[in-house]
Amino acid sequence: MSLQVELEQHRNVLIVRLRGELDHHTADVVRFKMEDAILRGRCDHVVLSLKDLQFMDSSGLGVILGRYKLVKSRGGKMVISDIQTSVKRLFELSGLFKILSVYETERSAIASLEVVS
């Protein structure tokens, strides 16, 4: 089991698509790839697309929260799209919904950010 991180830039928005299983073992690759893209690219905001994320545990919550703080410290916004039921429950338990907005599709998530910028 592994995790693929797909990155795409749409104007000033970085789209990050996670495919596979996000746990303690695969969290590092998400951290490094996102950090690199956020710091090097000219993107202000991030859309984290979880449509094809089949599994996530609390290590995933940690890495998502960490990237949220980074984006926020740079004056940007991070939103989530296409969240699965199992991941949704972890978001609810941890209170992550209070700080992260969730959209049904990538398109609506991007649209919400373009209003912001």
Partner: protein, 148 residues
């Protein structure tokens, strides 16, 4: 599905074994005919417990052994996940939501909260320098039973 069944798995405290452990337990539990949601919960719980053993029990050392035991008794799954690592200094504190002893590693501090929420019973047995044993139980009401 009823009766009694048992499995035991021992593996090196390496992070790539987190997926191995949760997938193996999930495969064992399928004989209880769980729902997708129940299976997700069990996989998450195993992942949390094994990750804790690796990060906190063995402090990231890959030289330790993590043991996972699963017992099926009727419609109840009992899980025991243990390590022979450092033990937990303050269990009450560790069980607090969002508390983590390793904030520098971006831990969310949600592991215990998730395990307690996803299982019906949850117990911690820990001893400084000797290790930690988590015992958990979950009742799996068979889909077949619900339909009948």
């Amino acid at each position: 599905m009823s009766g009694h069944n048992y499995m035991k798995l021992a593996f090196a405290s390496r992070s790539e074994n987190e997926a191995f452990a949760r997938i193996t337990v999930a495969a064992f539990v399928t004989q209880l005919d769980p729902t997708m949601e129940q299976l997700d919960e069990i996989k998450t719980v195993v992942s949390e417990a094994v990750t804790n053993a690796i990060i906190h029990g063995y402090n990231g050392s890959e030289q330790g052994t993590v043991t996972v035991e699963a017992i099926i008794d009727g419609d109840t799954l009992s899980l025991t996940i243990s390590d022979e690592g450092g033990g937990i200094e303050d269990v009450e504190l560790a069980r607090q939501p969002l508390y983590t002893s390793k904030p520098e590693l971006e831990r969310s501090g949600m592991g215990f909260t998730i395990m307690e929420n996803f299982m019906d019973a949850f117990e911690v047995e820990t001893s400084q320098g000797a290790g930690t044993k988590l015992r958990m139980k979950k009742r799996i009401e068979s889909k077949k039973a619900l339909f009948n």
